[in-house]
Amino acid sequence: MTVAAAFFYLFSCVCVASAFMVIASRNPVHSVLFLILAFVNAAGLFILMGAEFLAMILVVVYVGAVAVLFLFVVMMLDVDFAELRQGFLQYLPVGALVGVIFLIELVLVVGSFVIDPALVKTPIAAIPPASEMSNTAALGHVLYTRYLYFFQASGLVLLVAMIGAIVLTLRHKPGVKRQDVARQVARTRDTAIEVRKVPFREGV
């Protein structure tokens, strides 16, 4: 219990601190790196809650793909963030006002939030306790059986997305040199080598 609590405070402190550094650091590349740190710590928090599948997805998708993409964009576009921030103080009062309104609304909502007991009794299948089945196993049990249709249909949707991206953007440029293995293999001595009689002492 105390170990878990210690880890919870460690992960959450690092997470909040790195989230703050994302907006506070002067160098955009550092911002993205802090964002990755925040994601990893959030994944740690998920593991502490027993949601190991979400934790893995967070690391694989957000850290592995999205954050790296951000990093590429930030490094390639060379945006001058110092310049972008110049008008910051000008908009601060409006931004602060909106923020305060949101905070008040959030407090009101959370303060009065009650789940109707009539709604709670509806789950169709009982949720097995975490000690019997992990999240990942539970998802695996239904993904390829109960939800096979949706899984396959999503596959078709992704196929259409891929075909669409290729149809709309791929262009075959005429001047590009491509490797054609069949042509390379089909080369014979006759097609590749030209033997010339060079007159003696005259050069080519």
Binding site: R146, Y149, S154, L156, V157, L159, V160, V167
Partner: protein, 481 residues
């Protein structure tokens, strides 16, 4: 059920065949490149015919698979046959146009095929997740084909506009679906219907409004119609012909299925939405089309109006109402395919033309085409003995039986006003002096679709001829109640 052991996924066999042939055709296209475009077009057509055959031979009973997410009943079969007819006809008449425009990419028929799979999944959807996945599969393929002429700015604009607005409507639909799930605790249509018995379901009605908005976008009904004229005009004509037929049929079938099977307990609440959408669509379809000079834009407004008339039948909320919606959509499909087969053939030596003025004097230069088109336009207008009149008669009769007198009267008035612009086109064809040289001859595919559509509209005039269509539609409608 007899004791014949049945392959568990058999109800979805047509969809499985279509999806597998799409995968195979992608492979052929990837290996053989653009040379395979003609072959792939032919094979896609064959695959659609095979799927149609499989749908027809499935028998009459209600089948379910994938745990109730996929439902095949008489309603689904009727709508699927119509959708397949729409896709196959659009494919048959578009090849020639695409070849001349230099955009006969091999991906085009494959995307049409995948969109058709999506439409059939929509029609058979038994819960909200299946609904959304089918809709997204169809819409994504449609976004891409709208922009398939990628070097043309207008086509790209059409694709982009359709994509952005379509994504917005999908968002609304999902928001509504999440509310419905939250308030009823289930995504299956049968479960939702069970949860919504009795009084007081404010939260679910809130979700229903968003679902109605998302689906109204897909059938281009009025508050969500803005994309239609621009997309029809900007997209290549074969794509507009496809958009006007099969996706409308599938989305209308989905709308009917969701409202009738998932929300039978709150008919009075959703009837208000449908009545409003129907009146607004009929009015806009009648008035906004009057000033159009481009025949594709005219057809866009015409399709908006026709969706309004079809929704009049749904507003009745009865089996007869649903029957009239199905008959209306079937006749609309035939009329619009025939008209677009002609629009696709509007081409002079210098290239395709789209102006209504270009039709001037058609009766003198191409009398057969002019008479065929006259039949189709009179039918679209709903002039009495023709099929379009029958379709309107059924929906208004269903509305009157459900005591929606105001709606029926407004519908009749709107169709009288709408008749003006259809008859104006007929007048230009028959009484104006020829504007230029005759159009180049129609391709074989366009001739087949145009002639068949005109003949079907004429045959439906004979006494007793609409009976099989009515019977099939009635059996389909009964299977929902």
């Amino acid at each position: 059920m007899a004791a014949v052991p049945m392959f568990a996924l058999a109800p979805a066999l047509p969809e499985i065949v279509l999806a597998a042939s799409a995968l195979l055709l992608v492979l052929i296209g990837a290996l053989r490149g653009e040379r395979a475009a003609g072959l792939i077009e032919a094979l896609t057509f064959v695959a659609l015919l095979v799927a149609g055959f499989l749908v027809v031979t499935q028998g009459g009973e209600r089948l379910e698979t994938f745990g109730g997410s996929f439902v095949v009943d008489a309603f689904a079969r009727f709508a699927k046959v119509m959708t397949l007819v729409g896709s196959a006809a659009a494919l048959l008449m578009s090849g020639d146009f695409l070849r001349r425009a230099g955009i006969n990419r091999f991906e085009y028929p494959i995307l049409i095929l995948l969109a058709t799979v999506g439409m059939m999944m929509m029609i058979s959807a038994g819960d909200l997740i299946a609904l959304y996945l089918g809709l997204e599969l169809q819409s994504l393929a449609l976004y891409v084909v709208a922009a398939i002429d990628r070097d043309n700015a207008r086509s790209s604009e059409a694709g982009l506009k359709y994509f952005v607005l379509g994504a917005l409507s999908s968002g609304m639909l999902l928001y509504g679906a999440s509310l419905i799930y939250g308030f009823t605790g289930t995504v299956s249509f049968a479960g939702i219907a069970q949860a919504l018995q009795g009084e007081g379901h404010a939260g679910a009605i809130f979700g229903l409004v968003f679902i109605a908005a998302g689906l109204a976008f897909k059938i281009s009904a009025v508050p969500f119609h803005m994309w239609t004229p621009d997309v029809y005009e900007g997209a290549p004509t074969p794509v507009a012909a496809f958009f006007a037929a099969a996706p409308k049929m599938a989305a209308m079938a989905l709308l009917v299925r969701v409202f009738i099977t998932a929300f039978p307990g709150i008919v009075d609440q959703w009837r208000q939405i449908i009545v409003f959408v129907a009146i607004a669509s009929m009015a806009l379809g009648s008035f906004a089309a009057i000033g159009q000079r481009n025949i594709k834009r005219l057809m866009a407004y015409s399709s908006i109006g026709h969706m309004g008339y079809a929704l009049v039948g749904l507003a009745a909320g009865t089996a007869e109402g649903v029957q009239s919606v199905l008959v209306y959509m079937a006749i609309y499909l035939v009329m619009t395919l025939g008209t677009f087969a002609f629009i696709l053939s509007m081409r002079r030596e210098e290239g395709p033309v789209e102006g209504i003025d270009d039709l001037a004097g058609l009766a003198r230069t191409q009398p057969y085409a002019a008479y065929g088109l006259t039949i189709l336009f009179f039918s679209l207008a709903g002039i009495p003995p023709l099929a379009g009149f029958l379709a309107k008669w059924y929906v208004f009769a269903a509305a009157v039986e459900a005591k929606l007198y105001t709606l029926a009267v407004i519908g009749v008035l709107a169709s009288v006003i709408g008749a003006y612009y259809y008859i104006r086109v007929v007048k230009i064809m028959h009484f104006d002096d020829p504007a230029g040289a005759a159009f180049t001859p129609m391709s074989a595919g366009q001739k087949v679709v145009f002639a068949l559509a005109s003949i079907v509209i004429l045959i439906l005039m004979l006494p007793g001829a609409p009976a099989p269509l009515n019977g099939a539609a009635l059996a389909a409608a009964r299977s929902l109640f």
